[in-house]
Structure formats: C-alpha cells, structure tokens
Amino acid sequence: MAHVRFDNVSKSYPGGHHALSGVNFEINQGEIAFLTGHSGAGKSTLLKLIMLMEKATQGQVLVDGVNLSRLGNSQIPYHRRRVGVVFQNHQLLFDRSVFENVALPLRISGYSSRDLERRVRAALDKVGLLKKEKQSPIELSGGEQQRIGIARAVVNKPSLILADEPTGNLDPTLSAEIMRLFEQFNDVGVSVLIASHDLPLIDRLDHRVIGLKDGRLLNERPAGGL
C-alpha cells in the first residue's frame, strides 16, 4: 500500500484560484521524494492537504490507506501526530527553550516526563543540538533553528516527514547538511517528501523528483535517474 496517495486531487481556494488541478501520484513506504516547481506552483498547498491544513475540493488524498476527507475534526489532531512537518519559517516558539520546543509534540501526546526527556535528547542528539537544549531558539543561527524544527518533527517518531522549503534561507553548505539529515531519517525507513525549488541541490541528490507547474503534475524524475 502506498504511504501517500493522491487520486485526481484538485484544490481551489476561495475566490476560485486553482492551486492544484487533477493531481495523481503515490509515495511508497520508506520512499524519499522532492517536490519542485516555481513559486506559486502549488507545492505548499499539496503538503497542506496531507496535513489537513486544507481540504481537497475534488479527488481523494489517502495516507496509510485512510481517506483524509473521512476524518472528522476530532480525528485531525491524531492524524497530525503521525506526520512530522518542517516549515520554511520553522515556526518555533521563542518564549521557551530549545528543549521545550522539541518536547511540545510529546507533551501533546501525553508522554511521561522520563520518556519525554529521553526522546527529546535523542532527537536533539540526532540534529547535533544536544548541548544547546537550555538556550532559547532566538540565540541560535538560522541553520540551527531549522534543525530544532527538524528535531521537533521527528521526536514523535512519525513514519512520514513533510518539509516545506526547509533550506529556503540557508547557504548551500547548510542546505546540504539539512538534506543529509532527511536522508538519514529515510535510511531508517521513514517516508520523506520535501518541497523545494533549490534545483542545484536537488540535482546533486539522486532522489525521485515530482515536478509541479501551475497546479499540474509536470514531469517525474525517478530515483537513480541521473
């Protein structure tokens, strides 16, 4: 069964703008793929549909075989807990420590403090920020902030990670490091979908690429296609 499946999905925003039209694709369990396209092509919209931040106006989005349009409002939180998201503007909370930012999904899921500490430290260790857990995110660099966001996305051990322009504000070296992190998660079986228009970086990495243009699926480059 595909991990994520789009069945003829269209999305138009209020006002009639068609952000996505008739999109079909599948992402398999444990696959890593890039989503590319010009600004306004519909990348963020596509990810938002998977997170249920938006609902498809037509067609079906399935995650783990579950049709998302069938989920009631009360089930949305539980769906989101199974998906880790990384945002371009990382959405960190500056009024609390790095540790607390990463711990948030676990507090929500109801982890006891001992389990929670262990998991948060493991996630911070993974992204190389274990020594900065007590600091405020505001004291850290852009690359480090993005890694806090990644730690927060993976701390609940989701089986699917979505990232929206995770390297948007970073220089090429830092961007490559961030991508390397996603590859590491993929190495242990997590499915990863990264929206990015950093074509040079994508070209260097030999992963599947899904191209979008004006809300339509444009072309596909399979993994190992270079």
Binding site: H3, Q29, G30, M51, M53, D64, S74, P77, Y78, H79, R80, R81, R82, V85, Q91, L92, L93, D95, L104, P105, R107, I108, S109, G110, Y111, S112, S113, D115, A122, K126, R152, V154, N156, K157, P158, S159, L160, Q184, F185, D187, V188, G189, V190
Partner: protein, 327 residues
Amino acid sequence: MSTSRSSASSKSGARQSKVTVNSQWKAYLQHHRVTAKDSLIRLLKSPGSSIMTWLVLGIALSLPMTLFVSLENVKQLSRVWDQSSQISVYLKKGVVPRLAQGLSDEIQALPQVTSAYYISPELALKEFSAATGLSDVVEGLESNPLPGVISVVPSLASQDAKAMEKLQDQLMHFVQVESVQLDLLWVKRLYQFMELGQRMVWALALLLGLAVLLIIGNTIRLSIENRRDEILVVKLVGGTDAFVRRPFLYTGIWFGLGGGLIAWFLLSLGLYWLSGPVEQLIGLYGSEFVLSGLGVKDSLLLICDGVVLGWLGAWLAVSRHLARINP
C-alpha cells in the same frame, strides 16, 4: 530513530502507540498541574494588568454579596422590630369595665402574650378628641360611639403569621369580644420591601455576573491573540482542542479565584468597619442585635462563584475565538 526499516514499513502509527493508558493518565494529570502553574505565572508576570482585572472582578462580585448580606441583616433586625406589632381586641357594647379588666388580665396571662392593656370607651374617646382636636364634636355626642379596646402585644416567639392567626382565633372565642384586628400593616410593608429588595439583589447579581463573564471573556480573548503563534504550532503538531483550551481555562479560573478572594476581603473589611456603629445604633433601641458577617458557607459560595464565572467566561471566549485560529 533506532527502528529498523522493516518495522517502519509495517503499519505506521503503531510505533507511536507505546504510550500506555496508565502513563498517559499520569501525563494528563501532570499536564494539568503544569498548565495551571504556567497560567498563574503568566498572570503574575504582568502584575499591573492582572491586579487591575482582579480588582474589577472583586468589586463586581462583592457588590451583590454586600446587598445580600445587608438584606439578611435587615431581616434579622425586622424580627426585633416585630415586637411593636400589636393586636387590637374590640369589645362588645355593654361590657362593663370590671369584666373588661378581668378579660385583659386573662389575656395577659396567655403564654403568647407579652402584655395586654385595657382602654375603656371613655379613655378612648378622650384620646380621640385630644388627638384630633374635635372636642366640640365629641362633646356634642349623645352617647360614646367607641367600644372598649384591649391592646395586646404578642410575645416574640409568636410573631410569625401562623402563630398570629392562631392567637387571633383564640381571642375571637372570648364571648365579650366583638372583633380582633392585627396591626401588622407596616410589618407587611417592610416584608414587601424586603421581597422587592431581594429581587433587585438577584437582578443586580445577574447583571454583575454577566459583567464578570464579559470582563474575563475579553481578557482571555486578548491573551488568545497574544498566543496566536503558539496555538498554531500546537494545532499543527497534533494538539487537541482540549489541549489548546486548557491554559486559557486555567487563566479564567485564576482570574475568578483572585476576584472572589478580593470580593471576600472587601466584604469582610466593610462588615468589620460597619459593625461598631451599627451595634451602637441598634443598642439605642434597647434591643440586642449582632451584625451577622459572612459565614464559612457564604464565604466559600462567594469564592466558588468567582471560580465558576472565571471558568465559564474563559470557556465562552475560547470556544468563540479558538475555532478561528486554524493552521
């Protein structure tokens, strides 16, 4: 991330469900504790505006309670005044003074009666002409039209309406008695006023309760706006509505509790300040009266009112405004 590829490709979601029910319950309680503490700390971090809100709530809560306590005291006081309520027993024509005096003594001996005093027709007429200044008219009369009257003051214990009626019946049974009249008019009026007062207190309590809801609702609305980013992130990483609501409900509870305590303090202070002069004043009328303050029950009720209103106000604000913040 230490799980192997094979376990990851099995049914996803299973990996998160390692949280047992017991530990989840513990974590839930812990989260309540932490949230309650955090909410209080947040309020204390902006002491200026928090104290303002607390004071406003305290005043709004103490007003109806002040009136309520005053009414209770007036009620108690009116019992003391009831002593002045009288029963006039009109005697039949032709009852000779000796018999009338005997009847008066007999009535006086009743356990429900404090005193009975016979007023002869002659005395009544004298009093009438003196009081009205119609002595010419009175002198012109061929015979005295006034009956003899026994003025009865019932004892304190038989002041309630039922006992009074029973006494009235009893007095009617004496053969010499023509009619019995209760001079309860002003007592009745007082009770009517108190009834009215009680309703006004309820109406005021309702209005001020509504004001408390609005104040708390508005304060919570502002704090929701201030924490918009946090709410968005919490919702994005899977926070349920209950989780998102919790800190705001606790904020409402803290506001309500603080308001209730301030109201209680204001009221106690006011009662203490009044008790001296009031007791002195009442003392002038020769009656014993103690200004009753707030009992433990009333105090708890007042503080609970605050807490419930705080929670409710927060709940209303949260359910109105949180739905609008959607990632």
